[in-house]
């Protein structure tokens, strides 16, 4: 670890850098705003990614992890590819998502629930399951939108685009062993 980052030991900045491959570029942020300017969800964000970086620098950990920025991110990678300082902003957003979920700091968003439902299906079957996702997540979280979804779902179904049963991979135990090992290692 470079000495100038080592000096920031114990700060939130260091934590984010450590948790993000390529994260050390964070210290080069010019606060130019090309990330915030490029973001398709920029208008809906409480804090733009640029602001989040400033907040990370200011060690404002609580506010960052409670921000809605991460949940508005659509992973379009415009911020990353346009950043004049080569900062992997999308990946930093992923890091913040993980921290926020792990510590349950998120507010007013169902994204973590969706992620959870989704990954549970992967863990259980090895494949994602759209119908299950729709019923499992939407029924629980947003029954009204589920109703609006109805006609669309039906159309999807009649066109053979939605299955009622999940596909399970053959060697699911193998996948689960891999996942369990990953969870065990990352818990450390």
């Amino acid at each position: 670890m470079a000495a100038h980052i080592a000096e920031k030991k114990g700060t939130f900045l260091e934590e984010v850098i450590e948790a993000t491959p390529g994260g050390e570029r964070l210290v080069h942020c010019l606060q130019c705003g090309s990330c915030g300017g490029s973001c398709p969800s920029g208008a809906d964000m409480q804090y733009t990614p640029r602001t989040l970086i400033a907040m990370i620098n200011a060690n404002d950990r609580d506010a960052v992890l409670a921000a809605n920025t991460m949940w508005a991110c659509v992973s379009c990678y415009f911020c990353t590819s346009r950043c004049p300082q080569d900062i992997p902003i999308t990946d930093i957003i992923y890091t913040l998502k993980r921290l926020s979920i792990a510590e349950k700091r998120y507010r007013d968003t169902d994204a973590p629930a969706l992620a959870k439902t989704f990954t549970d299906f992967v863990d259980r079957y090895g494949r994602s399951f759209e119908f299950g996702l729709a019923t499992g997540y939407h029924l629980l979280k947003r029954p009204i939108s589920m109703m609006k979804m109805g006609p669309m779902g039906l159309q999807m179904f009649t066109r053979g685009r939605m299955a009622l049963r999940p596909t399970k991979i053959r060697q699911i135990e193998q996948l689960q062993a891999i996942i369990n090992k990953a969870k065990e290692l990352s818990a450390k």
Binding site: V74, C76, T80, T119, K181, S186
Partner: protein
């Protein structure tokens, strides 16, 4: 040319049209696709939001399952493509992390040597490996007169370098040109379709979808041609909801580029999954291409 084939979960059902057309077109172009046996889900963006190591381990299982004699893997789905490519790159660039991923794989008796497999998108394979001459040679029903708006979305062109401009990609433009179509040069061709936001925040997602449909319509496109099941689902599946939400009257069919290739190559539309789209493409195709489709 032989490639390992990773269809991804969407192509099993929701984007079956994509899967069918990929296979049909590949057959015709001499692209040998060997489906990875017992592949698993790439985790989409969701797994990365939860646990990076687990996400990469889940993805790396697929890389590890690629047969040793094959060193290229093709994914038609943008998210699958990015996840596979990103995992490989992370493992190459950060050997320590790569070791951890392999520790996880070892728990399932697998091993993946970072960098062994090159991850490719279907579009890149057709444009870069097959090339203009071979594609043009196969065209029997030129798409002349059809105004198509190539839509690239995000995750194939960014952030992994696939030899196209991440801001203003051109590969699909070229490909559709080879098919004789009139290609619409419109500014949002690599903007976001809303991704998983349709599941989380509809108003936000609908606005993103509207921008794309609006722009394509402003440029008088007959249809939008996409290369990702998520983009297709959002633009096609949600089109009527978007119309309801904004009071608009978009009626733009959203087709996969492989379906258009198939049409131009004279493959039976049925085999290409035509009819699975919610905004039906047949009327405009018939109007523009005439009896060719019959």
């Amino acid at each position: 040319m032989k490639y390992a084939y990773y269809p991804g979960c969407s192509l099993e059902r929701n984007a079956a049209a994509y899967d069918h057309s990929v296979r049909e077109v590949s057959d015709l172009l001499g692209i040998k696709l060997q489906e990875i046996d017992d592949w698993n889900c790439c985790g989409a963006t969701e797994y990365f939001s939860q646990n990076e190591l687990a996400a990469c381990a889940v993805i790396a299982r697929n890389l590890a399952l690629v047969e040793p004699q094959t060193d290229q893997i093709v994914a038609p789905c943008a998210a699958c493509y990015l996840n596979l490519a990103k995992t490989d790159k992370l493992m190459v660039d950060h050997p320590e992390f790569g070791k951890e991923v392999n520790q996880c794989l070892a728990a399932g008796g697998l091993k993946y040597e970072p960098g062994r497999v090159t991850v490719r998108h279907m579009l890149d394979v057709i444009v870069d490996d097959i090339g203009e001459t071979a594609v043009r040679d196969k065209v029997v029903r030129p798409l002349a007169g059809l105004r198509v708006a190539p839509y690239y979305g995000c995750q194939v062109v960014r952030p992994i370098d696939n030899n196209d401009n991440p801001e203003y990609p051109m590969k699909m433009d070229h490909l559709l040109n080879w098919l004789g179509a009139e290609v619409v040069d419109y500014p949002v061709k690599a903007h976001c379709c809303g991704g998983h936001l349709t599941q989380i925040s509809e108003p936000q997602a609908f606005e993103l979808i509207r921008r794309l449909l609006q722009n394509a319509q402003d440029y008088n496109a007959d249809m939008i041609i996409c290369m990702c099941p998520m983009c297709q689902l959002n633009l096609d599946g949600y089109q009527s909801r978007v119309n309801g939400f904004f009071g608009t009257e978009f009626k733009l069919p959203i087709m996969y580029f492989t379906q258009m290739l198939g049409i131009a190559f004279g493959i039976d539309p049925q085999k290409l999954g035509f009819g699975k789209e919610l905004v039906t493409a047949m009327p405009v195709l018939e109007a523009k291409l005439g009896g060719l489709l019959v």
